[in-house]
């Protein structure tokens, strides 16, 4: 079965510093990977996705993610963090072609950006 793991429950970073939120995946077949962000009392907002092609994917709000097949990782990054980036971040993988409509989410990483 497909799965993703987010090893850090919380990440703390100072405003203006680079940030990384980690995600590793386990899939059979080609991975379809996603990052979503959730603000308090809000639904999930799509940030970016990796389907195929360039290993560095650029997304919304200045976020990017690096796909690394050998390390089965898909880490979310941003060169300069903003206080407004503080939120809950979820990594997700879409199931294989057999069960293509299922998304599997990680447990989430809370990002705290301090002024």
């Amino acid at each position: 079965a497909q799965s993703v793991a987010q090893p850090e429950d919380q990440v703390n970073v100072a405003e203006g510093n680079p940030l990384t939120v980690k995600c590793t995946y386990s899939v059979s077949g080609n991975p379809y990977l996603f990052w979503y962000v959730q603000y308090p009392n809000r639904g999930l907002q799509f940030l970016l996705k990796y389907i195929t092609g360039d290993n560095l994917v650029k997304g919304s709000y200045g976020f990017e993610a690096e796909f690394n097949k050998s390390q089965t990782s898909f880490h979310l990054k941003k060169p300069s963090a903003l206080v407004s980036d503080s939120a809950l971040y979820f990594c997700a993988v879409r199931d294989s072609w057999v069960n293509f409509n299922k998304f599997y989410f990680g447990s989430g990483t809370k990002l705290n950006v301090k002024p």
Binding site: R42, L44, N101, K102, G108
Partner: protein, 114 residues
Amino acid sequence: DAGVTQSPTHLIKTRGQQVTLRCSPKSGHDTVSWYQQALGQGPQFIFQYYEEEERQRGNFPDRFSGHQFPNYSSELNVNALLLGDSALYLCASSRGTGTSGEQYFGPGTRLTVT
């Protein structure tokens, strides 16, 4: 362009009762998925509807059922509520099935079972 909408926002029910949650997909989307997000956890896939049929189902009991209407809106029904059903229920919409596209999520319905 309205995004995904869900109603109600909050709901309090008693154990053993039944509940119906509603979802309207984003304009142009025809596929609706439902997720359960327990406190402190990531969303878990319940099922997906396309062309008014359930296409995929996650590991949830038959107490969880759904429906999709001709206008693509959807309902999630939960019977015989348990305390453990307390969660945020998220609806997500997308265009078609078997594509690589992302899902767009609604704000969710917070269900509390007492």
